[in-house]
Amino acid sequence: MNDDRELDRLLDTLKPPAPSETLQARLLRDFAPMAAAPAGAPPSPTVWRRSGPLAVAAALVLAVGIGILTPGQRLASNIRSDVYDVVPADEEDVVREVFAEAPPDSAAFMVATFSLGGRYEDGTPGESGFEGLPLD
């Protein structure tokens, strides 16, 4: 190839995907310039909205069924290694954050659990009966 224009044409075929709406929404949601903490200061805790008891019970049953939660143990350390395989890449950070930080009776935990349950396809409970729900 000795034609720069032909090289330019080929290079132009490679275009990056647009940033996900999830990322844009997260950047706008998390905007807090005045809250910029001094070095070494702990981050501000997230306030998690709580769910009603029925929704909490359903989410907990499903969470145990698909291996996210083991009764009596801390949540973040009990997530099966293959759980995140069913999470879309642009949602993985959000789901990880929820399961690492959100209490099991929070709305975020419930929605994330139902969402995973709807996507799980390995024959565990939760394989059917739920549709994937948006995390935001």
Partner: protein
């Protein structure tokens, strides 16, 4: 706009995100070849900006664009040292057209992605900054702390390498027509 964002103006912050997010995420995608990694870089870049703007010194600081790119460039370098992703995993969707046309375009994109992905780090960085991101050679030189001559040399070598790598593709395409 930075001053307004620093004062907590969400609309100003949204304006900054709208103006720079696509470019920063795009740069990271070209360099890392992975959309999730690129979005991580973009998010971290803007989170650092969020912490930086309350004390932003417009007179004494680099331009916002330069600052953002420097942060993104350093993050990409760090991430590439940790792993070598596969650009082919995240090729963007190709608009549906005729079957033959789609196959040909996909072949082109695959070949270009592989060729760009194989470039040495600094050649790829210069190519992405100058060709894909629209920086002048001088601006790229400032970002990379190189001389303009060094940038010109890297860009020339990158294009030469791409022409050589992609020559079989061009011959193949000519053969189809």
């Amino acid at each position: 706009m930075i001053a307004r964002a620093a004062a907590g103006d969400r609309a100003a912050w949204a304006g900054l995100v709208e103006r720079y997010l696509v470019a920063i995420a795009g740069y990271a995608w070209y360099m890392l070849g992975d959309q999730a990694e690129a979005e991580d870089v973009a998010q971290e870049t803007f989170m650092r900006l969020m912490g930086k703007i309350p004390g932003w010194d417009a007179a004494g600081s680099a331009s916002l664009k330069t600052w953002l790119y420097r942060v993104a460039i350093n993050q990409c370098i760090d991430r590439r040292r940790k792993n070598v992703p596969d650009l082919m995993e995240t090729l963007p969707e190709i608009p549906v057209g005729g079957a033959g046309e789609t196959d040909a375009r996909f072949d082109e994109m695959r070949a270009v992605a592989e060729a760009v992905g194989r470039l040495p780090e600094r050649q790829k960085m210069v190519l992405v900054l100058v060709y894909y991101q629209g920086f002048t050679n001088g601006e790229a030189a400032e970002l990379m702390s190189l001389s303009v001559e060094a940038v010109e040399s890297l860009l020339s070598r990158a294009r030469r390498a791409l022409r050589a790598t992609l020559a079989p593709l061009r011959a193949d395409l000519l053969g189809r027509n």
